[in-house]
Structures are given as structure tokens and as C-alpha cells.
Amino acid sequence: MLIPGIPRLLVLAFFLLLPFVGNLYLVNQFTLLLVYGMFAMSLSLLWGYVGLLCFGHAVFFGLGAYIMAMVTKQMIPGMDGILSSSLAGILAAVGFNALFALILGWFLFYGRLSGPYLGIVTLAISVLVERIFINWYYTGGYNGISSVPALSFAGWEFSDPRHLYLLVFVLSLCAYLFLRRVVNSPFGAIISAIKHNEARAESFGFHATKYKIKVFAIGASVAGLAGALFAAAAEFVSPTELGFKMSTEVLIWTALGGREGLIASFMGAVTVKLLENYLSEALSEYWVLIIGFIFLLSVIFFPQGLFGRLLENRNKGWSVTSPQRSKTKKEGRVC
């Protein structure tokens, strides 16, 4: 790549210009795609940058969506007036997720869960929470919560799809810049060190577990923000959003796009979901089969994902496939 920033600028320009070019259907569709992209970026932070393979990441997305829906529909006792505004909903979703992830992280990471173990435990959490919400009649059980109010700030309602799109776009951009800041900061250097060799990072005096818990909370918060925006943009939330299916999807988006890059995983989500919107009608049930196969092939042949090389230019020496890393992985403790 001659000028490494160009593809990323093209992505930015495309998403910025879209609402002024596309029709309303397209704009509505892309609002949700931005939300999914933000969700994928939060998984990329945990998985690609810290090596926390989270098989149940949808639990944070779904909880964010449910909290947003419950706050703005005044379903939480004692929260009305200003406390049931969109902003309160978003803050509650992000805050609750951060707290939940801190507590969960404290249990899991101090329990020395890592690698595949962590992945499956998070998967189990996601399946469990999905089952709780299916059986919880207050939140609509299997049908979830519908007619969630649209976003509004200080009396200004985002009822025009183009305005909503631009708002979600700005928030996605903020989420990207925030996550990029995190991974490029000294804090990011430490989490990268932990990913590549935890024992070495600890011997340098960094408390790996504490850093992992913090990153887990950051990733969960961003996923919660995406979930909150999803609830407001789609105007509904159902147990599907926090369960097995969504967890599977976000993992596939991130893996196909490129787990080791924020923009790459964002584009993975957008591409896969866009294809799904157009192809799933023609292919019906075969779509999942095909995407499963593509996922399988990408794990074997393109561990960096489809956009990993194109959109990211960072630390080439540390890629998934480099022999240096795979060696430490093989010899390191897996459990």
C-alpha cells in the first residue's frame, strides 16, 4: 500500500456521503449496519487486540438494547422524566455494561480462565441470559419489547432517518476514534504485550488480570452503546439480540473482516450483513450454510480476514500467522 490511510479515508467518505445520495430505504438499512459495525469493533478490541476470545459478546449488545428500551419506555420503576430520556438510556446501557463486565471479569479472569475456556464460558452466559429474557414476561418474553421510542435529545427528535443516520455515524466515528486511542495509548501497548506473552508482561510488573478486566469493560461498554442505538434505530429488541445467534454473527463478521483491525472488523460486519440483506431472501436457509463455510475457509486460509491487510497498517510483525506468535501460543499454557 503506497499511502496507507487512503482505503480508510474512502470508507469514511462513503459513509459520510451515503445519506445525501441514497434513498430512505438505503439510509435506514445503513443506520443498522453502522450499529453492527460498532458492535464488531468492540469485539475486535477484545479478541484481536487482547486475545480475549468472546463467544458470547452479544450478551452486552443485547443488554444495552434492553436497558435502552426499558429506560425510554419507562419500564424501570422510579426512572421517569429526564431519567427516561434517550441520553439517560444510553448512559444507563453503557454504565450497566461496564459494571457488569467488571464484575464478570473479576470472576472469570481471577479464575484464570483464558483462551478457549473463556470463550465457552461467555457463550454459556449469553445462552443463559437469552433464556432468562425469553422466560421473563415483564420484558415481553419471546417477543421482546416493541415500539421503542426514537432517539431524542433535549426535545429534538431524530425522526428523519437521515438525521438519525448522521447521528449514528458520528457516534460510530467517536467509538472508532476512542477505541483507536485506547489501542494506540500506553495502555494499549501494555494490553498488546499481555496478548503476546502474558507471563513476560507480568514479569515486567504489569498486573495482567487487572488490565484484562479493564479492556473487557471497555469492550462491553462500546457493545452496550451499539445495543442502545440498535434498540432506538430498529425500535424493537428481542431475546435474539443477546443470544447465541447474534453472538455467532458478530464473531463471523469480525473474523471475516479481520479481527486485528477496528476498521477491518467494522467493514466485515457491514459487508456480511449487507450481503445477507440481499442474498438471504434468494438463498433462504442456505445462506447460513454458505456463510458457515466461508467462515471455516477464512479461519484456515485467511486468519487476518478479508480486509485485514487492506485497511490496517499496524504492527505487521505481530500478525496472527507470524511464526513468533504461534510458537509462544503452542508452548504457553492453554488452560
Binding site: 470472576f107 484464570r112 470463550g119 445462552v127 447460513v288 471455516l296 479461519v299 484456515i300 496472527v320 499454557r333
Partner: protein, 285 residues
């Protein structure tokens, strides 16, 4: 339902859970690979029985074929897929997960998403000391006990088991002493898969077979391994007993959902308190 029947049902579930966990743990112990498609192997075992019942061949043909077919599939998967990823061991979990998605969707496409029933192969009841109990459930317990005992025998008393334990302790050393680790991985993967297929086949007549039943066994089996400790085969007996027993006891008093929540929280707390499992020894570091 009398208390004795409850306890027997609980025991039934525990034994099948241990069977599923056993297949997982021998693959994990030897190869460090967590087979995410294990639940789907269970599913394939169950659907083999569904298929043979549909074709009029009856339950028993499916019961014999299920472990053979799934074991073969496991061998193919190991040779084609898992073998390519030994140097990226964390990616095997993703690859096998991809396989599980494909298998599950394949089942949905072939058999439809709804639950299917298999005609019970042994409908008669056995009455003993005033308690009447379905003979098929006793048969399942017998099969599970036999397979568990056979696996223990294989790994603790035979030459193959000695080799396998050498590979677990130090794969490079074992290979340099002339043990064919490649073939051992292939055999183990196939064996673990076959056990999952057998477990699925035995459970098929007891429940409605739907494409999501694999996950319903995979997660508790995995929790059983975590709780019991993956370092020894004995650990899963304890883990399976704790997870399966608690699950059954609580769901008979309250509801299956409450049972799942409690069991899961219990498992997380045990993991926090004893990361190496109830039976596991402290990690040597």
C-alpha cells in the same frame, strides 16, 4: 413421580452428561483442542437414529451406526481440518465452531427446524421392589456405564493409554520415543466423536430431537469439565455429578430455567474459587 424415579432419572442424565464430557475431555486432554462441534456430533448421532427410524430400519440399526458414522466424520475432520491448525491451536476452536454451524444448518435443511420424535425402542417397564421404571432408561445407564468404564480401561490399563498419557505429558518427547502422535491424535479425535454420536443416539428416544439440542448438552458438559478439572479423567465424574445432579434436583423443585441459572452461577463461583477444578491439582508454576 416417586422420589426413587426422580433419583434414577437424575442418574440417567448425569451418566449421559459424563459420556458427552468424556468425548470432549479426551480430545482436549490429548490435543489441547476444544471441539466446538462436539454438540453437533451428539446431534448427528441423534439424527442418525431419527433417519433410520424414518426409513423403517428401526432404532437399533441407527444405534449401531451412529457412533461409527460420527466417528468416521471425526476422523475426516481431524485429517482435513484440525491437522492444519496445530500450530494455531486457538484457531481450532473457531474452525470446529464453523463446522458446528455448517452441521447444524445442514440438519435444519434436511430435517426441518421442528422437533422430531423417535418411537421408544423398549417400551416395557421394569418393576423392582415396588418401583416401576422404563427399561430403556436402565439400558441407557448400562451403556453409559460400560462406555465410561471402557474409556477408563483404555486410557489407564492398555498400551494405547500409556502412549496417550505420554503424549499428554510431553508430545515432543513422546514423538521422539517412537510414538506416532499424528495417528494418536486421529484415533483420539475419532474416538471422542464416536462417543458423542453414541450419546446422541441413546438420548434420541427420550427427547424430541431438534437442531439445537447439541448446544443443550455441550454447555453443561463443558461446565462439568471446568468444575471437575480437565487434568484428570476422574474430574469429569465429579463435575458431571455436580452439574447434572444440581440441574436435575433444582429443575424438579422449581423449573429448568431456574436450575440453569443456579447451576451456571454455581459453576462460575467454583471456577473462581478453584480454577483447577474440584479434583485438579495446583498448576505447577
Amino acid at each position: 413421580m416417586s422420589a426413587a424415579v426422580q433419583i434414577l432419572n437424575g442418574l440417567n442424565y448425569i451418566l449421559v452428561l459424563i459420556l458427552v464430557a468424556m468425548g470432549l475431555v479426551i480430545i482436549f486432554g490429548l490435543m489441547n483442542v476444544i471441539n466446538m462441534a462436539h454438540g453437533e456430533f451428539f446431534l448427528l448421532g441423534a439424527y442418525t437414529v431419527v433417519l433410520t427410524s424414518k426409513m423403517g430400519l428401526g432404532f437399533w440399526v441407527g444405534f449401531i451406526f451412529a457412533p461409527i458414522l460420527v466417528g468416521l466424520l471425526g476422523a475426516i475432520l481431524e485429517a482435513v481440518l484440525v491437522r492444519r491448525l496445530y500450530h494455531r491451536i486457538l484457531d481450532t476452536i473457531l474452525a470446529t465452531w464453523g463446522v458446528s454451524i455448517v452441521i447444524k444448518q445442514g440438519i435444519i435443511l434436511t430435517f426441518g427446524p421442528e422437533g422430531l420424535m423417535v418411537k421408544p425402542p423398549m417400551p416395557e417397564m421394569v418393576t423392582f421392589a415396588g418401583i416401576s421404571y422404563p427399561s430403556y432408561r436402565l439400558f441407557i445407564m448400562g451403556v453409559a456405564l460400560f462406555v465410561i468404564a471402557a474409556t477408563f480401561y483404555l486410557f489407564l490399563k492398555t498400551d494405547f493409554g500409556l502412549g496417550a498419557r505420554a503424549v499428554i505429558a510431553n508430545p515432543n518427547m513422546a514423538a521422539s520415543l517412537g510414538i506416532n502422535t499424528r495417528r494418536m491424535y486421529l484415533t483420539t479425535f475419532s474416538l471422542g466423536s464416536a462417543i458423542a454420536g453414541l450419546a446422541g443416539a441413546t438420548m434420541a428416544p427420550l427427547m424430541s430431537c431438534d437442531p439445537h439440542m447439541g448446544l443443550g448438552f455441550f454447555i453443561p458438559a463443558f461446565l462439568a469439565i471446568l468444575v471437575g478439572g480437565a487434568s484428570s479423567l476422574g474430574g469429569i465424574l465429579v463435575g458431571g455429578g455436580v452439574i447434572g445432579g444440581a440441574q436435575n434436583a433444582i429443575s424438579s423443585v422449581y423449573s429448568p430455567v431456574v436450575a440453569q441459572i443456579v447451576v451456571f452461577s454455581l459453576a462460575i463461583i467454583i471456577i473462581r474459587m478453584r480454577p483447577e477444578g474440584i479434583l485438579g491439582r495446583k498448576a505447577r508454576d
